[in-house]
């Protein structure tokens, strides 16, 4: 802690996971996340942990399935195509209620695509690319500092609710170097309480079973309903977001991860030109900050979604505001816009807002405003969230 | 003398035990159990040597061997 050190995103992610107590990593090389396994390959053994280069992503996620079942903090990482191969395993982990952490350092898709940064895996991450009803706790860092500090939060939420957790990054966040400050004391795995479900040496206790199936009629649904109740709780308690200058904003840019950095510079340009433009950044993509966005929708004249994909993220924004405000989309499928390009769209959109023409019924807005939990307003408006510190309660726009 | 007891709720009437018995003293009953199978049983009382081979091949742990 203390001094800021210059680190590469992928290495910060790996170091952050180890400091968060990760002692088992299995993965398979793929650009642009290779520095994660490479870093783990020497750092983990030196920390008394295990690193395995699996024969494939499928093998890697199944090693994680086994390791996580012993209660150890396990991690895997990959990039888009490799994450697709892990979907069956992720679904099994979710179905067996095994907490673990993984990272997708997204590249351009579909297919082999390219190795540049992209955001085309949003739906896969937030809606389960795997089969069946399940959710993954998804955090979207937009700095190397957050790459370093989010893994800890992911493990905490994952273990609290027994769900998979992930960091959704991209080639820029993985490859870039930035100053990093680890905002927490390293976790000593030995000090973590053993789980009452973990497999291992059972001196005399009843046998334990980790599984994701139940063939008895009606039983599987009961399991799923139980799990959905936990999901509800996560949606209530674990939302994180950042709102910059949204208080007086007529136009709110909504973006996450790398595109939120670029959008931020566009917002500055706009503010410099005196336009009332704000930026809303979901930090958790699931749970999605629905409430906070709905509240903003009641005040802003327009939303502009900026995403490095063809229009995936925008669905969640539209579901959140549900017609209360018009939501425009600037989509760049596997493209990385410049601040100038985004600003051009922002300016055009802003000019387009005819002061009066605000859609949706007053009635609804009232309802929405009434529905807003206290405190959220000044969070959304005044107090800009300090990034990368979700671990510290009270900050990070927690709900 | 040695004997075997076949658990009728476990036995599935597969007859594997009959092939394993050197004394050929296992036979199948004519009436099926509630589980719907025709369970094995000791044919003549005095032929079993308690060698246990039948229980070696029984897939359903249905045979208890007494000696």
């Amino acid at each position: 802690m203390g001094e800021k050190i210059l680190m590469k995103g992928n290495e910060a992610l790996a170091e952050g996971a180890i400091r968060a107590g990760c002692r088992f990593f299995a993965g398979y090389p793929i650009t642009p996340q290779n520095e994660v396994p490479e870093y783990m390959s020497w750092r983990l053994p030196d920390s008394g942990g295990t690193f395995i280069q699996a024969e494939s992503e499928v093998a890697a996620i199944n090693m994680i399935y086994g390791a996580a079942a012993t209660g150890i903090r396990a991690m895997t990482s990959s990039s888009s195509p490799g994450i697709s191969l892990k979907q069956e395993g992720i679904s099994y982990c979710a179905g067996a209620d095994l907490p673990f952490f993984y990272a997708n350092v997204v590249r351009g898709g579909p297919g082999l695509g390219n190795i540049a940064a992209a955001q085309g895996d949003y739906n896969q991450s937030t809606r389960g690319g795997g089969h069946g009803d399940y959710r993954v706790f998804v955090m979207a860092p937009n700095s190397v500092d957050e790459m370093a500090n989010f893994p800890k939060r992911c493990y905490e939420v994952a273990e609290k609710y027994r769900v998979p957790s992930m960091v959704l990054a991209d080639g820029i966040l993985g490859q870039m170097m930035e100053p990093v400050e680890f905002a927490f004391e390293p976790v000593d795995p030995a000090k973590l309480a053993p789980k009452d479900w973990e497999l291992g040496v059972n001196n005399g206790r009843a046998k334990r079973v980790v599984k994701s199936y139940d063939l008895r009629e009606g039983e599987l649904e009961k399991l799923n309903v139980k799990r959905m109740a936990r999901y509800k709780k996560i949606e209530q308690d674990e939302v994180l977001f950042e709102a910059k200058q949204c208080g007086d904003a007529d136009l709110v840019i909504v973006a996450y991860g790398t595109s939120s950095r670029i959008a931020a510079s566009a917002m500055k340009m706009a503010r410099d030109k005196g336009m009332k433009v704000g930026l809303f950044r979901p930090i958790t993509l699931w749970p999605f900050p629905k409430k906070a966005l709905a509240d903003l929708a009641a005040k802003a004249k327009k939303f502009l979604v900026v995403e490095m994909s063809m229009g995936q993220f925008v669905d969640d924004v539209r579901l959140a505001v549900c017609g209360k405000v018009e939501v425009d989309l600037y989509a760049r499928p596997a493209g990385i816009p410049s601040g100038e390009e985004v600003f051009a769209v922002v300016e055009k959109t802003y000019r387009g807002i005819a002061a009066a023409s605000k859609p949706a019924a007053k009635g609804q807005k009232q309802a929405a405003r009434r529905g807003r939990p206290k405190g959220s307003k000044n969070k959304a408006a005044k107090k800009p969230v300090k990034r990368g510190r979700p671990a510290k309660p009270g900050k990070g726009g927690r709900r | 003398m040695p004997e075997i007891k076949v658990n009728e709720t476990l036995c599935k009437g597969c007859e594997l035990c009959t092939t394993a018995c050197p004394q050929k003293c296992i036979v199948m009953s004519e009436k099926f159990s509630i589980t719907g199978y025709y369970p094995a049983k000791l044919g003549k009382a005095d032929c079993c040597t308690g060698c246990g081979l039948c229980s070696q091949i029984c897939p359903d742990l249905a045979i208890e061997v007494y000696k």
């Binding site: 499928v58 046998k207 | 394993a20």
Partner: protein
């Protein structure tokens, strides 16, 4: 007069849901007895496959995990590396281990993971209803080769022990059968050895057991025994395929950089 074959505590005391004359039950019992006799039941974690033996998680009286089809060796790797004090075994069918799980099988052997694999070769996909397995014999009928397996269309059966033999990491490979009481007893010896190897940190051990699936062979249980000896054994000879005295041969050194 006393009971000379007390039911193993290695199995939970419930009826097995396998078909009449199925080999799984026999092998289950043998594994359970080995856990007892080696006194490792309380530190053993078993991996149940996807296959008829999916229910093994219910039957074996130790910690169990059931995972994705064919990935047992990878799951076992994760467990063993995380908790080395545990004894870890993976119980798999031929579709599970030799078809979809082939890469995981070979690489866990190449890594010489210190685990024990029980491989049930019944030359068919049991659970899903009798489709062709990689071990299905030439000419054998299955629901996905209804006219009998034909090399042109379906390729050749895979001999798993012979295949793994060339791997330096494979420490112990034996093929046995459960079609006769004598073979059952040999199978138990092999399984016990496979667990002992793990206790001795020898690395990867696999026992391939030729086993009956009368239901999907379309035979009676008794005919099933014959099928094993007359059809399977000529293609899948019994025996020890690998059991070096020393730990797995250290491979050729060669360091660039």
């Amino acid at each position: 007069m006393q009971l000379i074959n007390k039911r193993t505590t290695g199995l939970v005391d419930v009826p097995l849901r396998y078909c009449p004359g199925c080999g799984h039950g026999i092998v289950h019992r043998l594994v359970g007895e080995c856990l007892d006799e080696l006194k490792i039941r309380e530190r053993t974690v078993g991996v149940a496959p996807v296959g008829c033996a999916v229910f093994a998680d219910e039957y074996f009286n130790c910690d169990m995990i059931q995972g994705p089809h064919g990935r047992g060796p990878a799951i076992a790797t994760g467990i063993k590396r995380s908790k080395p004090d545990c004894v870890v075994f993976s119980y798999q069918g031929d579709g599970d281990l030799a078809s979809i799980g082939m890469a995981e099988t070979i690489h866990s052997a190449a890594r010489s993971e210190n685990i024990t694999i029980i491989f049930i070769n019944n030359a068919i996909y049991g659970m899903t209803g009798g489709q062709m397995a990689p071990t299905t014999l030439m000419g054998q009928k299955a629901t996905t080769c209804p006219r009998g397996r034909d090399p042109k269309a379906n390729g050749y059966p895979i001999r798993v022990c012979e295949l793994l033999k060339s791997l330096d990491g494979a420490y112990y490979l034996e093929r046995t059968a459960v079609n006769t009481a004598a073979n059952v007893i040999k199978t138990k010896k092999a399984i016990k050895k496979a667990f002992q190897n793990q206790l001795d940190c020898k690395g990867f051990s696999l026992v391939e057991v030729l086993s009956m699936c009368p239901t999907n062979w379309g035979t009676t249980p008794l005919e099933g025994l014959k099928f094993v000896s007359e059809k399977m054994m000529p293609m899948y000879p019994l025996g020890v395929f690998k059991a070096p005295e020393a730990p797995a041969a250290p491979a050729q050194e060669g360091g660039a950089k």
